[in-house]
């Protein structure tokens, strides 16, 4: 019966094969209400830009969000969408995705929405590997409630609710997702359109749950949080580029690199690394051992400015949706589910007639 809904939905006959959609087809008539200069604009443009290449009809795309600035996102996408309640988007999206395999379901969330009030739903969606593309806009602050520290704010942060400095140790969303055994985890930056687009595309094409942490500047309450990574020099010195199959090198002329300590096996960063140095790690996003990706995510422990960017991990594991579908099909093949069978179920094995 699951198929029936999809068929009934698509049943309204399209007069003509619709022309391939363009970025502008994904724009709505709603005025975008983010603050001028907000990083969300760049992400919106990138998403609208790459969706046409995804090859999924517009009507089969759904954006589900929670609460927060980022969660207004669905209103600006001319697809199906739901702006739900705080933290619950992954749960709602799970129900939609598992019951409608024909849809491409995106979750748009923020650091407060996904990691504080909704932390439980996030980790469970990831461990189940529900077929969702989760875009986590991380601005390290509560924006919509006007400037309290968030679960990704650095310790000691002075905000409206932490005038003496916050005492909370922040989450590293990538480490958290890897700990929850996510099959696709990536990080990108709002201002790098090209990188953002390529990571989003890879995430959307992944079967199962994919989590993309997007560093996003809140120019009102936490302006400049990622400025270090946005200057040419800062980007060169501190962004650790993760490209599958390539050596992880950065710095001027690629003289810095992620290397493996031959003694402990730990990942660290070495400077003045010559070409051909065998210690340099070649990035393997498909590594079966998740501790490798986790170790990459912990590089900031060496120096908090170190920021790995790209796809940390992308491995194959059957999605929850697929496993569920297979179970449903197996049950259907085993015994009929028609009205006669349902009547027999209701009658049971122990009826009597008066």
């Amino acid at each position: 019966m699951t198929d029936t809904v999809a068929e009934r939905a698509a049943g309204s006959v399209r007069a003509l094969p619709s022309a391939p959609p363009k970025a502008k087809d994904f724009k709505t008539d709603q005025e975008v209400r983010w603050c001028p200069g907000c990083g969300d604009y760049a992400i919106l443009a990138a998403v609208q830009g790459f969706l046409p290449e995804l090859g999924v009809p517009r009507e089969n795309i759904v954006f589900i969000s929670g609460i927060g600035c980022s969660s207004r996102f669905p209103y600006y996408m001319n697809t199906y969408g739901m702006h739900s309640i705080h933290g619950r988007a992954p749960a709602i999206a799970t129900g939609l995705s598992t019951s409608r395999p024909d849809l491409a379901v995106f979750v748009v969330t923020g650091d407060g929405d996904a990691l504080s009030i909704g932390g439980n739903h996030l980790i469970h969606a990831l461990r189940r590997n529900v077929n969702l593309t989760i875009l986590l806009f991380n601005n390290r602050i509560y924006g919509l409630t006007k400037g309290q520290y968030s679960p990704t704010s650095e310790r000691g942060k002075v905000t409206k609710s932490s005038p003496y400095g916050s005492l909370d140790n922040p989450f590293n969303p990538v480490s958290l997702a890897l700990g929850a055994e996510a099959t696709f985890v990536a990080r990108t930056l709002d201002s790098d359109r090209k990188h953002l687009t390529s990571v989003l595309r890879a995430a959307a094409e992944h079967e199962g749950a994919s989590l993309v942490e997007i560093y996003q500047n809140c120019n009102i309450f936490n302006d400049g949080a990622f400025d270090l990574l946005k200057s040419p020099e800062g980007a060169r010195e501190w962004i650790v580029p993760l490209v599958h199959g390539e050596e992880i090198r950065f710095g001027a002329g690629g003289d810095k690199a992620v290397v493996r300590d031959p003694g402990t096996g730990a990942l660290t960063v070495a400077e003045g690394v010559e070409p051909g140095d065998p210690r340099v790690v070649v990035h393997d996003a498909h590594a079966a051992d998740s501790s490798y990706a986790y170790a990459l995510s912990r590089l900031p422990e060496r120096d908090p400015r170190l920021t790995p960017m790209g796809v940390f991990r992308s491995v194959e594991r059957p999605s929850y949706d697929r496993l569920l579908r297979e179970q449903m099909e197996a049950a259907r093949n085993e015994a009929p589910g028609d009205d006669a069978a349902l009547n027999a179920l209701i009658r049971g094995g122990d009826s009597w007639t008066l």
Partner: protein, 613 residues
Amino acid sequence: MSVHLEQLERVVIRIAGDSGDGMQLTGDRFTHETARFGNDLSTLPNFPAEIRAPAGTLHGVSSFQLHFADHDILTPGDRPDVLVAMNPAALKANLGDLPRGATIIVDTHDFTPRALARVGWTSDPLTDGTLDAFTVHAVDLTQLTLDALADTGLTRKDAARAKNMYALGLLSWMYSRPVEGTIRFLRQKFAKTPRIAEANVRAFKAGWNYGETTEAFVAHQVKPAPLPPGEYRNITGNLALAYGLIAGARRAGLPLFLGSYPITPASDILHELSKHKRFGVTTFQAEDEIAGVGAALGASFGGALGVTTTSGPGVALKSETIGLAVSLELPLVVVDVQRGGPSTGLPTKTEQADLLQAMFGRNGEAPVPVVAPRSPADCFDAAVEAIRIATAYRTPVFLLSDGYLANGSEPWRFPALEQLPDLTVEFLTAPNGPDGTFLPYLRDETTLARPWAVPGTPGLEHRVGGIEKADGTGHISYDPDNHERMVRLRDAKVRGIAVPDVEVDDPGADARVLVLGWGSTYGSIGAAVRRVRRAGHAVARAHLRHVNPFPANLGQVLARYDKVVVPEMNLGQLALLLRARYVVDVVSVTQVRGMPFRAADLAQTLQGVIEDD
């Protein structure tokens, strides 16, 4: 074969023992035999929340009460005529419920000074006169079971475990129950361990033979009840509710999606539905109550029938999502199998104290229809009705069952699918606004329901959300006039739900007192009303299936009587609603003991009200 069969109209039996003694299973089997035999029946399982409380303690006692009769009955009975007590704790815990002259069959095996002391008895009640008011059969059932299984090679411990079947055999003889069903059941249940199966069968037969040969017991007969002709089965409330959900979804033409988190006493519905994938039923065991209802709502957005099942504490957690469903105007069925509260309360006991939570437990003006089943089998029809309202009006609906209905059972003249109402739902597949636009909040003139346009439908792409929506377009709107209009529209939609008039049972049309109930008090009230009428008093009764909205004729009905008595297993929640809505004084009769009302107590209360009138 015994020559003399004493004829009885009705019997109430209670079987009690340790929670590990298999009392629920024993009761369940006796119920099946009784249903097969054709009696009308009603059951009341009663067990502790702990899985295996320490053996021999009062709080570890588990019991199962069965009322069966040669006529239609309404309750599991106030007080047992027969108590089977498998140990001192079971005897002590249940003694206070027995009327004078009741029969007690007690397993003496554990009546040691230590076991007696454990439950606070300093002398042996079997010999110290404690049981003088009763007919006592003190029998070492455990030893008899061990003797019967002496040559099976089973360990003493394993053999003793079959004592419940020995007791069941004895009871089956005493009440002339058919035995084939239980023998078949035992062989099936223990198919993987034939030795255990045969031991249980042998203990069961030995118990039967013991009754027949000792002449200590009298065989009784309770003739089949002349119920309306048709095909029957026995069913518990949770099972009927699960079947009702499947059948209702089938009649609506929708796949059923259950998002749920385990909670007593609702989990059985999740267990049952998880077996039925071939009927298009998806069950999702969520990480918490919130995710359960969230996933259900997400599935509804996608065109499935979203359902969540829980009990009171779970409803508290789901409230925000139910409010979202009110705002999104999507179908959703929220099943609350009520238990004693507040907080964790009495997880395995019954109560009706979530009515106001269902009515008002959300922020803002968030009206939700409320439907309540009145008996275990009626849970089926109530579930179908909840689905009708949810789909036709695009709204969350509360289905308020309770612990008594969930685990109680009764014979059910089940319908065929084809006899159920056609609940076919149409999705919108083409734009409904001017110039090919789509207006997600354009309402049906009759029902005020908005269109259900599911993802995958080209041309109807739209966004919904919890922020107030502009009438028609569904765009975000903070406009004061629009909010006023939308709040009133949502309210009008729920108020306007078509529900049948409440029927009044007033045989002489001369009653001055009406007794009005809702939900699971149906049986107790009905039995009490019979008693009152038998005593020569006129009393009218009515019972609500729909608590929100109330039936249209309810105000007129209330106004016809001098007094309206409202019994509830809470502190007067329906009474509060009736007073507020109809400005009528009602006599609120309340009880929160975790157990159904006793018919005799209610009858006395009613008689008092009538005599004061």
